[in-house]
């Protein structure tokens, strides 16, 4: 018995406590195991497995059915069974052979062993002999021993060889018996290989198809605790060594585990599977092993952002693209925004932001429409005027030059314009500074109206003089209208009096907004100024993007008189308040007190006249609002941009973005903040009220937010947000960037020049651009009829040329000279290639862009040489004659036979202009090179019998052996031999004046114009 005296607790009770707590403890261990085993990704992998099984089954069924319908397969099966039968007959023979082989193999084994033993001893003896020669041991006996063993070994070897020969012989015999069977088997395998592999895969994937032991293994391998041995369900990851996750102190190789759940991401065939199992779109470009961005080299979060190491829905920092999706995720995945991770995944809207990291040099970025649109908007809206953006460093200001504003417009118009630009021009890119969210209360409006007076005053009193030519009389507005429609103005401008509801901003639509919408010019300007401006834009503003169209005085006058006709009456009727000196003083005092004491401010104000005050205020206000970011304004040549630098804005920490009083209304993400800022730039000055209205925070006028309102649509905001989100500080290793070789650099530089000078407003390059086509069609409708206007090939022939294959097409020297001194090429064109005031460097950039883009890397080439006596030349003469090239082409001053509608370039120009290699290409398939061209492939006799050719085409052509290259070469030789007048413009002009274009509808209009 236990001594009871020295006890305190009732042992039974303690036992119970012990039992209960141990049970609890054990239970908690069970919980811990369950908790550890229930990894969130497992559910997805299990689900994917069933999706995969379904897919394999489907594949297998398909493969089986193709095999069944395969005639060869059945036949081979048949032959195989016959071969098997044959073997059945020879069973005895085979058994006999096998027995023999077995016997001989036993012999071989013995002999081989003897040989091995002997050889080993021989090797030892050899070593000993060498040692003896070295002076150790007895040389004589060693050599004797060596010789004996050598003989022994050789003997065994011979014996072995003999046995092996016998064995081989027997084996050959056996193989011969089996040879037929083997052949069919091999053939069968090669046909059904794919089916067999698929079946095998199914066997490994589908538990229902497994053998019994494998079924058990399939369960056992994924049991808790045992699941480290060879689990089916496991975390999958990609480690990208050279792309680093920014850990601030250090970079760590990127580890992405996204494919743990997104299991079909790099596998073809899951395109229609539900998320997260579907295949990545465009596998050839992204993720696929042969794409430029294979998963193993780039991972996932390099482009998409997010937390690559995460293995749960939340710990990977998924971002919903709409509140609806957020709600759905909350229900399905218990989603909540991931705190403590600076780079959450991009939303669908901003997904292309990742492209910007590496491809920002391109414009547009192929395949990234939203991003490219954003970049185009940045360039058009001039965001870089106020915000530093390294990508657009040094790009010219986007607004008009205001240095000579007094000659262009009036004080009153300017006041109204600044006050409310969109009242005058609904789609202008000039933003609203006034009467918006944070300054539309009565007091602010009163003040800002006086601010505008000050700005206007400053602009006009500092305006430089502009010496203008007199406007010629007898200008014809109607002709001006036609000129505007046909000369090419509509490549950069539009005339659109009202906003159209279905307008969606695109890169293409922005091209027409390169210059202003040409409405209401009568309210804004005067005919004399427009006349001088269109005639020579550079005289008004040396760096303007408006090119010189080489207008005659009459043309310029017609255009100016036409443009001035449109006035905006409601805009003209707006009232302008008088200058209010009290408020002007208030504004001036605000600025003065930034530097002076209160008492000094009063003295200073008393000294200033009202004009001085206005001028002073105007200057300060222009600085305050940053007008100089977009306009050249006297006195602001060296002013610094006023906005936040956006170069790495996409990496800005969320804590650095001030959500102000919107913190309850706005999800705390960068894109929501940027989006809200763009939608209403002044919103963060405001305090939302319960009834949905806003009241302003207590702020001095000069402390208020001042980013202006561009009136952006959600579509545009998404595009801009994408650009900002893409502007990150991530460092991408050089070998992961697009290779910066000559080609890439030339293409980037060229694309940028083409974008900023809007070349694609007129020209189509590789299917993109050519905004002007629509207005060409309108013009055609007017001068001929609807039928012609709807025939795209005619529209194309009256529009600026396609620049596809331009780099291979023209000789670079000629192109440079032509750019500098434009002359007529396609005689029927009304639209005019303007003269751009580019430097040689810029022209070279453009030429090199064309060359590199089109794979033409030679800079210098020998001129094509030909002889008029050659057979080739003679053949060419025949071909051009029978091909009736003269129907459309000028031969020097010789006019084409057909009407002007179908005219094509003067062939005399060709030898200076074109590259023969390109011509060869072009002749053989014009549609390939210039889609839509009216130029037919010159007919050559390649498939006619020799006799016919000799009879119809003469011996020179016949001598070419129906070789198309040689025949076309002849045609080229002929063209190179042409001599005559280069410039046919005067002939063309007089022809058009007298006879017009001759729009006749022909039934088989094969011999139309071209556009080369």
């Amino acid at each position: 018995m236990i001594d009871q005296q020295e006890r305190y607790y009732n042992i039974l009770k303690l036992n119970r406590w012990f039992a209960l707590s141990s049970l609890l403890f054990a239970g908690i261990f069970v919980l811990a195991f369950v908790d550890d085993y229930q990894r969130p990704w497992k559910k997805f992998q299990k689900e994917f497995r069933s999706v995969e099984i379904e897919k394999i089954n489907k594949n297998l069924a398909e493969l089986n059915s193709t095999l069944e319908s395969n005639h060869d397969y059945k036949e081979i099966l048949n032959l195989l069974s016959k071969a098997d039968e044959k073997l059945q007959d020879k069973v005895e023979e085979i058994d006999d052979l096998n027995a023999k082989i077995k016997d001989i193999d036993a012999v071989r084994y013995g002999v081989n062993q003897n040989h091995q033993f002997a050889k080993a001893e021989y090797d030892v003896a050899k070593y000993k002999a060498d040692q003896a020669r070295h002076g150790l041991g007895d040389l004589v006996s060693a050599e004797k021993n060596l010789k004996e063993l050598d003989e022994l070994t050789t003997g065994f070897k011979l014996e072995l060889e003999e046995v092996e020969k016998k064995l081989e012989n027997l084996e050959d015999q056996l193989a011969k018996l089996y040879s037929e069977q083997k052949t069919y088997n091999d053939e069968l395998n090669s046909i059904s290989h794919k089916r067999d592999l698929t079946a095998r895969k199914l066997l490994k994937t589908d538990p229902g198809k497994m053998s019994f032991s494998n079924k058990i293994a399939n369960v056992v391998r994924d049991l808790p605790v045992l699941d480290f041995i060879d689990p089916y369900y496991e975390v999958k990851q990609v480690v990208v060594k050279d792309i680093e996750e920014d850990l601030i102190y250090m970079g760590m190789p990127k580890v992405d585990r996204c494919m743990t759940c997104h299991m079909g991401i790099d596998k073809k065939g899951f395109e229609n599977a539900p998320q997260p199992y579907s295949t990545h779109p465009n596998l050839d470009q992204m993720v696929g092993p042969n794409s430029p961005h294979p998963m193993s080299e780039f991972g996932c979060t390099t482009c998409h952002a997010g937390r690559g190491r995460g293995t749960g829905f939340n710990s990977t920092a998924h971002s919903p693209s709409s509140p609806d999706q957020a709600h759905e995720w909350e229900e399905n995945y218990d989603w909540h925004p991931m705190h403590h991770w600076d780079n959450p995944m991009f939303t669908k809207q901003n997904m292309e932001a990742g492209c910007f990291k590496c491809h920002s040099g391109n414009m547009p970025i192929a395949g990234a429409e939203t991003l490219s649109l954003g970049m185009a908007i940045v360039e058009r809206a001039g965001c870089f005027g106020c915000h530093q953006l390294d990508r657009w460093e040094g790009k010219p200001k986007t607004g008009p030059n205001l240095a000579k504003i007094a000659s262009k417009t009036t004080n009153d118009w300017t006041w109204k314009w600044i006050n409310s630009p969109r009242d005058f021009r609904h789609n202008t890119w000039m933003p609203h500074f006034f009467n918006i969210t944070n300054n539309n209360d009565a007091k602010s409006v009163q003040r800002t109206k006086q601010e505008i007076h000050s700005i206007t005053e400053y602009l006009f009193s500092n305006s430089e003089s502009y010496s203008m030519d007199k406007l010629p009389r007898n200008a014809n507005a109607e002709n001006g209208r036609l000129l505007v429609a046909s000369l090419g103005c509509m490549g950069c401008h539009e005339i659109q009096p009202e906003a159209e509801a279905d307008d969606i901003t695109s890169i293409q639509s922005l091209r027409q907004e390169q210059g202003p919408n040409l409405i209401g010019l009568g309210s804004k300007s005067n005919a004399k100024w427009i006349y001088n401006w269109v005639k020579n834009p550079a005289s008004f503003h040396a760096d303007t993007k408006m090119p010189n169209l080489r207008l005659s005085n009459q043309e310029a006058a017609d255009i100016s008189v036409y443009l001035i006709q449109d006035v905006n009456k409601s805009f003209d009727a707006q009232e302008i308040p008088d200058v209010n000196e009290e408020i002007i003083d208030e504004i001036a005092a605000d600025f003065l007190s930034q530097q002076l004491r209160k008492s000094e401010v009063d003295i200073k104000l008393a000294e200033m006249s009202i004009h001085e005050k206005l001028d002073f205020n105007g200057q300060r206000l222009i600085g305050q609002y940053g007008c100089f970011g977009c306009h050249n304004i006297p006195g602001f040549d060296k002013a610094k941009p006023i906005g936040t630098s956006l170069t790495i804005e996409g990496s800005k920490l969320i804590t650095k973005l001030d959500f102000g009083f919107q913190h309850d209304n706005l999800p705390h993400t960068r894109w929501d903040w940027f989006g809200q800022k763009l939608a209403d730039p002044r919103i963060f000055d405001m305090i939302p009220q319960e009834d949905g209205s806003l009241i302003s925070m207590e702020k001095q006028p000069l402390d208020k937010l001042r980013m202006p309102d561009f009136g952006l649509t959600q579509h545009e905001i998404d595009a801009l947000t994408t650009v900002i989100m893409g502007s990150v500080k991530d460092e991408i290793p050089v070998n992961k960037l697009p290779k910066m070789n000559t080609k890439q650099m030339a293409i980037e530089a060229g694309e940028q020049i083409i974008q900023s000078n809007n070349c694609k407003g007129c020209h189509k390059i590789d299917g993109d651009g050519g905004v002007i086509w629509a207005s060409t069609a309108d013009w055609l409708r007017e001068i001929s009829d609807d039928i012609n206007a709807e025939d795209m090939s005619i529209v194309q022939s009256f529009s600026p040329p396609l620049l596809d294959s331009q780099g291979r097409k023209t000789q670079p020297e000629w192109l440079l000279n032509w750019f500098k001194n434009i002359s007529m090429i396609r005689p029927q064109l009304q639209v005019r290639m303007p003269s751009f005031d580019f430097s040689d460097e810029e022209w070279n950039t453009i030429i090199e862009y064309f060359q590199q883009k089109d794979g033409q890397s030679l800079t210098y080439e020998l001129p094509h040489s030909m002889s008029k006596n050659s057979e080739s030349y003679k053949a060419g003469t025949v071909i051009q004659e029978l091909g009736a090239c003269t129907n459309c082409h000028f031969y020097g001053s010789q006019k084409p036979k057909q009407a002007a509608l179908t005219w094509a370039p003067n062939l005399v120009l060709s030898k200076d202009r074109l590259r023969p290699a390109w011509l060869l290409e072009f002749f053989s398939n014009p549609q390939n090179i210039m889609p839509g061209t009216k130029m037919p492939a010159p007919y050559i006799p390649t498939e006619e019998p020799f006799a016919d050719v000799l009879a119809n085409w003469g011996k020179s052509v016949a001598g070419m052996d129906s070789d198309s290259t040689r025949l076309y070469q002849g045609l080229i030789d002929y063209i190179w031999g042409l001599k005559g007048r280069n410039d046919v413009s005067s002939i063309v002009r007089s022809h058009l004046e007298n006879e017009g274009y001759g729009f006749i509808i022909e039934d088989d209009d094969e011999w139309g114009g071209d556009d080369w």
């Binding site: 009871q4 042992i11 036992n15 141990s22 908690i28 261990f29 592999l197 496991e234 990851q237 092993p289």
Partner: protein
């Protein structure tokens, strides 16, 4: 205060516990020890289970779910990249394999000698793999024919991807002496 405290203490027995209670406790103790399902044995079983759980947990802890070792599966280009009859050395350093193409197809050999794990050299003039450590020699097929190597070189799994590329999986190996070279994945018919 005094009232409250005294009320409380009145309900409690001051001083020692009467021995009777202990007696009872002890007899209970005696019974419980013999009965299998007593609280005590339940307690011990649960405790041992929990302890076992802890050691299992510790054991499992040592096998991470993810490895950061170099990938064992790689893409080795297209079958046409390999010349018939040649031993291709391009993956030797990076992945430790030779890819050999013969008239019938392609197979992948491990560069690890089956003797003591050195890396043999391919001697093109003699058409054999020769291990520099102990002189083992292997034919182009991987079969050992001289030196101490006990068995042929191992082959790795080779398959074709959907796009026609070769995929080599080093986690699955095939040994000739086990007859595994006949496995369809040990050899790629081209």
């Amino acid at each position: 205060m005094a009232e409250i405290i005294s009320k409380k203490s009145a309900t409690k027995e001051p001083g020692r516990r009467p021995p009777a209670a202990l007696d009872k406790a002890d007899t209970g103790d005696q019974i419980s020890r013999r009965s299998f399902f007593s609280w005590l044995s339940i307690g011990w079983f649960a405790f041992i289970a929990a302890t076992g759980g802890f050691f299992t947990m510790m054991l499992r802890f040592f096998f991470p779910n993810v490895l950061f070792e170099p990938v064992q599966t790689f893409r080795a280009g297209f079958p046409d990249d390999y010349t018939i009859g040649e031993v291709d050395l391009r993956w030797k350093n990076k992945y430790g394999v030779w890819i050999v193409r013969n008239n019938e197809g392609i197979y992948v050999l491990s560069t690890t000698c089956t003797h003591l794990g050195c890396t043999p050299n391919w001697l093109n003039s003699e058409q054999k793999f020769k291990c520099p450590c102990h002189g083992s020699g292997f034919f182009k097929t991987g079969i050992n024919f001289e030196g101490p190597a006990p068995r042929p070189l191992e082959r790795f799994k080779i398959t074709l991807a959907d796009n026609g590329q070769i995929i080599v999986d080093k986690t699955i190996k095939f040994q000739q002496e086990k007859g595994q070279w006949n496995d369809p994945e040990a050899f790629l018919n081209v």
